[in-house]
Amino acid sequence: MIRYTATRLISLCISLIVASLVIFTVVEVFPGDPAAYMLGVNAQPDTVAALRAELGLDMSRPARYLAWVSGMVQGDFGQSYTYRTPVSQMIMDRIWVSLPLALFALVLTVLIAFPAGIYAASRRGGAGDIGVMGATQLGVAIPNFWFAMILVLIFAIHLRWFSAGGFPGWDKGLWPGIKALILPAVALALPQAAILSRVMRSSLLDMLGEDFIRTARAKGLSRRQALWRHALRNAMIPVLTIIGLQFSFLLAGGIVIEQVFFLPGLGRLIFQAISARDLIVVESVVMLLVFLVIVVNFAVDIAYAAVDPRLRVRR
């Protein structure tokens, strides 16, 4: 298990290095000079050159890459070209919206999907199964921003339980912050929960058809006991895979929901940065998202091994 974790860690580091190189290269080949863009079309060449020097754009590419990476390791993401503020500060403000939102949505997803999937699988072909499957079919088909608008219509406009958007900031206290994230998190979670329940159900049904379930029944376990004690853990591998993918999606793909609810999250930041050709912000946010996704994948790998002893030896 230790060796397995170590190899996964090494692969994590390699992924990070490769990702940083790719991101740096891609941003480099973007057309347009940030310095010229910042100063506008009428800028004097020597002003542009001075700004380029100030921003470090005149260094060689390898030197810039190294400066960028070593800065990031120390928490220094550089200065935003457009806002002239430290990128790390901008990210910090936003990540405390995006990360809690993604986690919140993920918890909701799991809380909805596990019971629904298990319930449907244990009543295969019955009314309960058909009901759950019908509901998840809808959940998969309907986009999350539509859910978001319906939720706003019902809970913000008619019932007035929540505000329709915006984020008060965590300095106003925990509850106002959480309250502002409830509707966006539900809107994000519903389609994901629908997908995950279907995965949970089919994975469980696969497992319930396995020989070892028959063995468990022959020992005297009831159907229910066989499902909980033997099928569930075996069914977790595909479910964990999907959860990992969903977290990445919730983190980076919250952009539409952030727009609907006017949340100052990473999605909106990157969108604005791309429009303003603020390459350093784009680079940094993308790198941060990649980092989080790779860490999540690492966590999923470790969870695989915790669930399935066969993976601890195989690579």
């Binding site: 063995t215 022959a218 020992k219 376990l221 004690r229 030896v313 690579r315």
Partner: protein, 534 residues
């Protein structure tokens, strides 16, 4: 005293009747074997006794265990009987255990679920039971996972789970079918010993008459969901009143008559072939261990010769086969067909490969279900530079199908319309269609029922008479290899330990391993009129 009495058991699944008036009895300490071909209702009878029939099935009649009619019990009551009064062992030990739980936990679960005792106590008893079935804790800690054990060891764990509470009745459904002959012998010994030691009734289901003859006190022969004949083993084998019993026995003991092999002209030459695999690293930067799957193997297969290759699972048979077929390169040595290497310049030599065809074990998995038979059997034509077209192609298809005892009209059907035996005939037709120099039969009859197997073996002998057929016949079934080969090779741990004329190797084995294999193989009883040798 009667322990289990099945009386007039009828089972139907979705209005299709599977079992008809099945009646049988098992006494305490008695070994009763149910035998018959696939689809005869053997396993359904066992599942009906366990109350584990598939969904939407109906059972009527009586299944009386120790005075109580099991069919009348509720599901909750059956749960308390399963595992405590009736234990069950299944065919496939590789999948019968939960892969994510330790063997100790799985054996202890049987005890805990019925007796509600603490974990420590249950584990102590699980430890004793695993030791009893031959897995002492010193060598097989209870914290092992199933994937760390071999098939035979896993089957012992399944047995320990089934007998943990010393049930009155143990049902074993084909318990050794998936195992090698030497492992099979050990497991059968264990089951018989446990039955007499615990005074258990043992209801054993097997298609293998030799195993039946060796194990059972009484036999129940089933055919198409009905009991055809039943009686004490010796008596039943002596009399064999029912024609189906006689047919089954004749098919099991079936020998074919091969025409004599022509004068030896080398066809396939294997010289000093070694194939090694690198294992995963044991430590992060440690060296990778190297395993010789095939080590320094040399032999020659002559034109028109039928050569057998026997050995247990993991001995390197499949690796050698892959190398011969040119699917993989080898580390050392050379394989040539008609003098041309099967592997040259780092790639498979297609000109040589098209002279070889192969027939695999699984008649269900080795065909694309979306293609018609005509397309399936003409697949080898893709290897030819100018594949036959139009009428020539149709004639070739018709001839190949006729040769294997099918009708040319079958060319337009899909594979699901055929039975297992017919599918294997189609596989042979596919192998024959471009007149290859060599056919490799890789466990080609192992999945077939005895009567179908006998027909396919007859077909092989028949083809040998019609054309100069050279083949390499790979099987774990010694009886079959004995019947259809001129010479045989015995493989153990990647090496060929003995090779020679089949009759001599089987009649007078030289190598200790060959002797072990032959001794472990169950034998059919000697009965006048039907000749058989294993």
């Amino acid at each position: 005293m009667t322990l289990l009495a099945v009386q007039g058991l009828n089972v139907s699944i979705r209005a299709v009747q599977i079992l008809h008036e099945v009646t049988l009895e098992v006494a305490a300490g008695e070994v009763v074997a149910i035998t018959g071909e696939s689809g005869s209702g053997k396993s359904m009878t066992a599942l009906a006794v366990m109350g584990l029939l598939p969904d939407r099935s109906m059972a009527t009649g009586r299944v009386v265990l120790d005075g109580a009619d099991l069919l009348a019990l509720s599901e909750a009551q059956m749960c308390s009987i399963r595992g405590r009064d009736i234990g069950m062992v299944f065919q496939e030990p590789m999948t019968a255990l939960n892969p994510v739980q330790t063997i100790g936990a799985q054996v202890a679960e049987t005890i805990r679920i019925h007796e509600g005792i603490g974990k420590a106590q249950a584990w102590t008893r699980a430890r004793d039971m695993l030791a009893r079935v031959g897995l002492p804790e010193a060598r097989f800690p209870l914290t092992r996972y199933p994937h760390e054990l071999s098939g035979g060891q896993r089957q012992r764990v399944v047995i320990a789970m089934a007998i943990a509470l010393r049930p009155k009745l143990l049902i074993a459904d084909e318990p050794t079918t998936a195992l090698d002959v030497t492992t099979q012998a050990h497991i059968l010994d264990l089951l018989r010993d446990l039955a007499s030691e615990f005074g258990m009734g043992l209801l054993m289901i097997t298609h293998d008459l030799a195993v039946v003859a060796q194990m059972a006190d009484r036999i129940v022969v089933m055919q198409k969901g009905r009991v055809a004949e039943t009686g004490p083993t010796a008596q039943l084998f002596a009399a064999m009143k029912h024609p189906y019993t006689r047919a089954l026995f004749a098919a099991s003991a079936h020998r074919v008559n091969l025409p004599p092999a022509p004068a030896p002209v080398p066809l396939l030459q294997v010289r000093g072939v070694t194939r090694t695999y690198r294992q995963p690293r044991r430590s992060l930067f440690g060296p990778r261990a190297v395993v010789d799957a095939v080590a320094d193997v040399s032999f020659t297969l002559h034109k028109g010769e039928r050569l057998g290759l026997v050995g247990e699972s993991g001995c390197g048979k499949s690796t050698l086969t892959r190398a011969i077929l040119g699917l993989e390169d080898v580390q050392a040595g050379e394989i040539t067909l008609n003098g041309a290497p099967v592997w040259s310049a780092n790639r498979s030599n297609l000109a040589v490969r098209r002279q070889m065809q192969v027939v695999f074990q699984d008649p269900y998995g080795s065909f694309n279900p979306r293609h018609r038979v005509s397309r399936l059997i003409t697949e080898p034509f893709h290897l030819l530079p100018h594949p036959p077209q139009g009428e020539v192609r149709d004639a070739a298809i018709a001839r190949a199908l006729t040769d294997v005892g099918l009708s040319p009209d079958d060319a337009h059907k899909y594979i699901h319309e055929f039975s297992g035996g017919q599918r294997q005939r189609i596989a042979i037709a596919r192998a024959l269609i471009n007149d290859p120099d060599l056919i490799v039969f890789d466990e080609a009859v192992s999945a077939l029922d005895v009567s179908v197997r006998a027909q396919v073996l007859d077909l092989l002998a028949d083809l040998c008479r019609k054309r100069p057929l050279s083949y390499l016949f790979i099987s774990h079934d010694l009886h079959v290899v004995h019947s259809v080969t001129d010479r045989v090779m015995v493989m153990q741990a990647g090496r060929i330990v003995e090779q020679g004329v089949t009759e001599e190797v089987f009649g007078n084995p030289q190598h200790a391993y060959t002797k072990t294999l032959l001794a472990a193989a169950p034998r059919l009883p000697e009965i006048g009129g039907i000749s058989h040798v294993t």
